[in-house]
C-alpha cells in the first residue's frame, strides 16, 4: 500500500519512515511526504496513495481541512490523524471529516505500528 506522510515536522516525518521499516509494516511504501496541507493535496492527486498520516496543526492549510478535501477526492483513502491535540472534540471532528483513525502525539513506535495494522486490517 502506498503512503503519503503529512507533517510539518522533519523529525516526525523521518521517525514515521523509520518505524515503517518494522517487518509487520512491510506492505506499506512511502510514496511522498508533505509539510503542509496545500503541498499534501498536490502530492495526493499525483501519487494517489491508499494511506495517509495527517498532522492537524500545520501552516498554510491545516490537517482538518486537508482531510476533508482528500476525502472529497477519494472517499476510499484511509487517513490516520497523528496529532498532539488531545481533546476529544478534535478527534471526533477529524473522524467526522472522514479520518479512519486518530493517534495522539507523543506516540511510541509500537503505538504507530498498531495503529497502521488496525487501519489496514
Amino acid at each position: 500500500m502506498n503512503l503519503l506522510i503529512v507533517d510539518d515536522s522533519t523529525v516526525i516525518r523521518s521517525r514515521i519512515v523509520r518505524i515503517l521499516s518494522d517487518p509487520r509494516l512491510g506492505f506499506i511504501r512511502v510514496v511522498a511526504m508533505a509539510k503542509n496541507g496545500a503541498e499534501a493535496l498536490t502530492l495526493f492527486a499525483q501519487k494517489q496513495p491508499e494511506l495517509v498520516t495527517m498532522d492537524l496543526t500545520m501552516p498554510e492549510m491545516d490537517g482538518a481541512e486537508c482531510t476533508e478535501k482528500m476525502i472529497a477526492l477519494d472517499s476510499n483513502v484511509s487517513i490516520l490523524v497523528v496529532s498532539a491535540l488531545s481533546d476529544k472534540a478534535t478527534a471526533l471532528k477529524a473522524l467526522k471529516k472522514g479520518a479512519r483513525g486518530f493517534l495522539y502525539k507523543p506516540f511510541t513506535d509500537e503505538q504507530l505500528i498498531e495503529a497502521f495494522v488496525e487501519l489496514t486490517s
Binding site: D8, S9, T10, V11, I12, S14, R15, R18, T57, M58, P59, S83, A84, L85, S86, D87, A89, T90, Y104, K105, P106, F107, T108
Partner: protein
C-alpha cells in the same frame, strides 16, 4: 474572575513528563514548578520552541532546552542528523506536543499555533501576558530544560475546565 490555577499548571507538568516517557522510555525529573520572579526573566537555554495561544486563553507556551539535550533526544529516536535545523525542528515539535496535550484539560477553546523556533532568548518584554509566568524545570540525562507557561484567560471569555 477565573485565573490559571496550580491544577492547570499540573497539566503541563504531566505533558512534559509524558513526552519523555513515551519517546525515551525514561523519566524526566521535574525539578520544580514555580512563578518566575518579577525582577528576573524565566530561564531559557540554547534553543526555544514557542506556541502562541489564542481563543478563550491567550499568551504563549515555551519549551527551551540546550543543544546537547535535544541531540540526545534525537539519538534516542535513532536519528543521526543533529544539525541546528533538526534540533530547532525537535524543540518546536516538543513545544507543540506539550501545548497540544494541554487541550485535554482546557478543551478546544485553547487554540494553538504552529511552532515558532528561536536560537536566541525570547523577548519577554514584548510578548508576556503575565507579570510572573509559570516555570517548570525539567532534567533528563543531566541536562536541564524549561517549560514556560505564560497564559491567562482572554478578557471577557470564560474557560470550562
Amino acid at each position: 474572575m477565573y485565573d490559571i490555577s496550580e491544577q492547570d499548571i499540573h497539566v503541563f507538568v504531566d505533558a512534559v513528563s509524558h513526552y519523555f516517557m513515551q519517546i525515551t522510555h525514561e523519566k524526566a525529573e521535574i525539578r520544580g514548578a514555580f512563578l518566575a520572579r518579577g525582577e528576573s526573566f524565566p530561564p531559557t537555554f540554547d534553543l526555544t520552541g514557542m506556541i502562541k495561544i489564542s481563543g478563550k486563553l491567550r499568551g504563549r507556551v515555551y519549551f527551551s532546552a540546550p543543544r546537547a539535550m535535544l541531540a540526545r533526544l534525537l539519538l534516542s529516536m535513532h536519528e543521526s542528523c543533529l544539525s541546528d535545523e533538526w534540533l530547532l525542528d525537535a524543540v518546536g515539535e516538543i513545544a507543540n506536543t506539550i501545548a497540544g496535550n494541554a487541550r485535554r484539560h482546557f478543551g478546544e477553546a485553547m487554540e494553538i499555533s504552529v511552532p515558532e523556533t528561536m536560537s536566541t532568548p525570547p523577548k519577554w518584554q514584548e510578548s508576556a501576558v503575565r507579570a510572573r509566568p509559570y516555570v517548570i524545570l525539567v532534567r533528563w540525562k543531566r541536562h536541564d530544560a524549561s517549560v514556560i507557561v505564560d497564559i491567562e484567560p482572554t478578557p471577557s471569555a470564560e474557560v470550562q475546565t
